[in-house]
Subunit: 421 residues, 2 copies
């Protein structure tokens, strides 16, 4: 039985109990949300070392970090180091997006070290194995799915929503397609003059997902790649199809979430969330950013955090991080750390805005520590202890007086907490 | 005549013409907004090398960078270097918040190099000169004002809104006062058991501001210092008083803007903007952040950009940057650069959301360059050319193939713009 099947039969699974405890909610409440598809617990039965998390309605906002090789930058150890730092920095889930030749080996090594849910885009491996986009077919694709499922992958991005119908709207765009999976499928459809094989054979994908309890993350191959294309016809047509596929999946006992944009101006983010909720029956929304500007190269993790905080406050449940290398290269280890922390801050800001008690309590304790100028106490509640300690150490080393007097170099003896009590 | 006096007499000043050209709006339209106090042009007649800017209603969102020494970190050359990098990175205004002993000398040196509006908090110099908070008095304070006005300072932060009435609400707070100016005044009021001398002698301050056309930035000495105190009685009581003082200022022909919070959760930002507009008759709102979390030490510039983007979209006109050193020390040169750029991104994101044509056109051109994988063209529109070039250079140096093929190491030959056209 999958989590959603168990929930519908009034069964509270081990995973539900763990998630309920983490979120400080009642298992029965969680079970109901899972039964209705409002919360998912991505947990492949084969993922032995998994510490499960819940994603969706009113749970704390979760953050995903993408790692993985590319054809021009491929070193398994580097990716394992990224995995470690991402989880250490608070990533709630990891996606291995490797596209080099040794995908199987890298994934197997990653999963043994990955206690958080692991996701993939199986189409990438299908393309690498087929050696060209045109040669992919459903049999090869299902082989890849089975292989990855056996290894314990917890969620699959499936770009089944791009159909022939969308082609006319895609042609009208400023940037036709910025999704790697989406561009593979569009190229395949153009070459074969056939319907997207993921859409046609969606039932077969569901069979496999149900067998392992793999959560499907329905990919937005047509996410807008620039502000000019935001919330356009191509995007919304695909979203509606994703909604239909999500209903199919839930009917078959498969957990499902929906992937979302992309480049979206701040004033369209709330509308984007509302459309997803409407067309996809409130399935958990997994957004990439959103990026509310196109020009922040080198700072896209920050622009993404601005969009992500607003999106999560308005109802997105899962934020995919961006790194400072977005649009310019594959991130290195430091980029991964910074990307995770900045996105965790966005998620936390949304949790506060939504009134999450744990988030508010942590902020309150930080405020008390700050008023007492108690650096030891502040260290407990700050988002990145390592950076906090480094910065404070620099301060005190430069000026011994600061350490004794407790204040910092911003105001020195004019410290507000010393001036007026 | 001040800008607001000229505007009311249907006169279009040289400064109005310059600002209208920069904003691509009609000078007559701008004049009307200035006459009503919806836009200010901080431009002290004595600031000879000033390139004026407008702040307020429907103009592009502006960014201020704070620089200046502290008693424990004081080097004039460092502050001049910060000034240069802040302006070079796009800061629209600078505040010199020096609190070391040689304030006059530092300010004079800064102003000769400062072609953007320069602001100060004159109370800081008054405290430094009086050698203790208790010894300040209005005569000494007015001397400081006159001296700074003569040097060409364009806007003064005046914490005239903290009154005896607020003391009861302040006592109830988690963090009583986190404004340096505010804490000085509270300490002074407590010591002398008298009303705030800036409030009592506000008319004298107006005389001087009118004489030089110095814009008053009415300071929020009681801005909330943590999420727990956000939008509380102390803050709103002060805001109402600032509104009354703003009306007084405008009546006397003095330009005025209002300073705002501070630590505010995302879900209260829009309300905060609305309250300012209501109580202060839509005076330009100058916000510090807002910071939607207390725990982002080391990343407060990013948390501030998240709050700032939302605030500016909803109607704040002027964003004061935060740096990564906020709450932990005085920023160094790199912190200043990063702080300015991140805040400029927030301002730009708000401009896009508000439909600013120039901002949208820039994003559109970036999108076209990106689809063509034209790195030379992207360089023209990206937010930080220096970082962009550095990152691209690193990519190409690591792998010559990337340079030739034009793509980056994220997808390599699987580049979406090569896969599907």
């Amino acid at each position: 039985m999958t989590q959603i099947e168990a929930a519908r039969q009034n069964k509270i699974t081990r995973e539900m109990r763990i998630v309920a405890k983490k979120e400080e909610i009642k298992p029965g409440w969680l079970r109901k949300k899972i039964a209705r598809g409002l919360v998912v617990i991505p947990a492949n039965r084969k993922h032995k070392n998994l510490d499960p998390i819940g994603i969706g309605f009113d749970l704390k906002v979760k953050v995903n970090a993408n790692i993985g090789t590319s054809p021009t930058k491929s070193n398994a150890q580097t990716e394992l180091d990224k995995l470690k730092i991402a989880i250490g920095s608070g990533a709630d889930a990891i996606m291995d997006l490797s596209t080099s030749k040794d995908i199987d080996r890298i994934r197997k090594r990653i999963i043994t070290k990955c206690r958080v849910p692991l996701g993939t885009v199986p189409l990438y491996q299908a393309v690498v194995e087929a050696k060209s986009v045109e040669k992919i077919n459903i049999a090869l694709y299902l082989d890849v799915l089975e292989k990855q499922a056996e290894d314990g992958v917890d969620f699959f991005t499936i770009h089944a929503g791009i159909t022939q119908k969308a082609l006319a709207s895609v042609k009208k765009r400023t940037m036709k397609c910025v999704s790697r999976g989406g561009s593979f499928l569009l190229a395949w459809m153009k070459c074969h003059q056939e319907e997207n094989f993921l859409y046609r054979h969606f039932d077969k994908i569901l069979d496999l997902a149900q067998k392992y309890d793999i959560t499907l993350s329905l990919g937005d191959g047509l996410r807008p790649g620039c502000i000019a294309d935001s919330t356009d016809k191509a995007q919304i047509e695909e979203l509606k199809i994703l909604g239909k596929l999500a209903r199919k999946a839930r009917k078959r006992g498969v957990q499902v979430m929906i992937e979302g944009p992309g480049h979206v101006p701040l004033n369209e983010i709330e509308e984007n969330i509302a459309l997803e909720k409407k067309y996809c029956d409130n399935a958990p929304f997994y957004v990439l950013g959103p990026l509310p500007t196109d020009i922040a190269t080198g700072y896209d993790h920050i622009a993404g955090a601005i969009g992500g905080a607003l999106a999560a406050w308005k109802g997105a449940s899962f934020l995919c991080y961006l790194t400072s290398k977005e649009h310019i290269g594959l991130p290195d280890i430091d980029d991964v750390k910074e990307g995770v922390i900045v996105t965790k801050i966005a998620a936390h800001i949304a949790d506060i805005a939504k009134g999450n008690k744990e988030a508010l309590a942590r902020n309150y304790k930080m405020a008390l520590a700050r008023e007492k100028i108690d650096w030891k106490e502040m260290e407990k509640f700050t988002v990145d202890k390592e950076k906090f300690l480094k910065l404070r150490k620099q301060e005190v080393e430069k000026n011994k007086k600061l350490g004794k007097a407790k204040y910092c170099s911003m105001c020195g003896p004019f410290c507000v907490f010393k001036t007026f009590k």
